[in-house]
């Protein structure tokens, strides 16, 4: 069962469920890049609200997703990091480098709209 990816105009939204195993995160990495290419997306929101634990490996994969997608000229925003998860990540020393983050899906989309809004985006 893969991570569901929704298309909202020029943006993609991936909502990660809790208890995601490594293989599924890696699958998301491949799926997102493919879909970014397929839909010529301008931005991607990865919603991690349901992730109750984020360790160094999940951070690493999210950073890879962001970098791969950026090579396609697309921006990634991570949203929904829970406060306890944020604290654990800082203690662990495993933060998300320079990937933009936002509080929730709404703010994540607002951020992307701000970056890319006003652009006339034609989807073929």
């Amino acid at each position: 069962m893969g991570v569901p990816i929704l298309k909202q105009g020029p943006f993609l939204i991936a909502t990660i469920q809790a208890a995601l195993a490594d293989a599924e995160l890696e699958g998301l990495r491949a799926d997102l890049v493919q879909n970014v290419v397929r839909f010529r997306s301008l931005g991607v929101v990865v919603d991690v609200t349901a992730m109750d634990v984020m360790d160094s490996y999940s951070s690493k994969i999210l950073i890879e997703i962001s970098r791969m997608i950026r090579l396609r000229g697309t921006e990634t925003v991570i949203v929904g990091i829970q406060p306890e998860v944020a604290f654990a990540m800082v203690q662990l020393g495993s933060t998300l480098a320079d990937i933009p983050t936002a509080l929730d899906l709404e703010e994540g989309l607002a951020y992307l709209h701000q970056r890319f809004g006003g652009l006339d985006h034609a989807i073929n």
Partner: protein, 140 residues
């Protein structure tokens, strides 16, 4: 109460950390502390999967001098860590000198012990204690 989980593949990492999180919450740890414990378990379990043929994560209640806590023991049948000092050396990144993330794991818990024999395996013991309650009468 003690629970031992076999760690062989990545789905076991999820099982182990969830078990730890649930037990921690049951013992009365805050959500924050339970998350730290689960994160530590996840890191150690992942090391077992990535670098060894397999191992176990044991989660056990602790009771000492009137304090309650949770103990995590990660044991593996791997090649062992030859340079423990290097493995525990830290800047402030999740990868210590050896990319095992051990300095980070140590920061998540109260107590940390490691024993490793080259060719035989590694045992890491983590402990976290419930904060002792301060009586309101004495004030601080």
């Amino acid at each position: 109460m003690k629970l031992t989980i076999d760690i062989a593949q990545d789905k076991d990492v999820v099982a182990a950390r969830q078990a730890g999180r649930i037990r921690a919450l049951k013992l009365g740890f805050s959500l924050g502390d339970a998350t730290l414990i689960a994160t530590a378990i996840s890191e150690l379990a992942r090391n077992i999967v990535s670098y060894t043929p397999g191992g176990t994560i044991a989660i056990a209640d602790l009771n000492s001098k009137g304090r309650t806590g949770l103990q995590i023991v990660a044991q593996d049948r791997g090649p062992g860590i030859r340079d423990l000092e290097l493995a525990l050396r830290d800047g402030f990144s999740s990868s210590g000198g050896l990319g095992l993330g051990l300095p980070g794991v140590r920061r998540l818990m109260d107590d940390f012990e490691i024993e490793s024999v080259a060719g035989q395996g590694t045992t890491i013991r983590l402990m976290k204690w419930l904060p002792t309650r301060v009586s309101g009468d004495h004030g601080t």
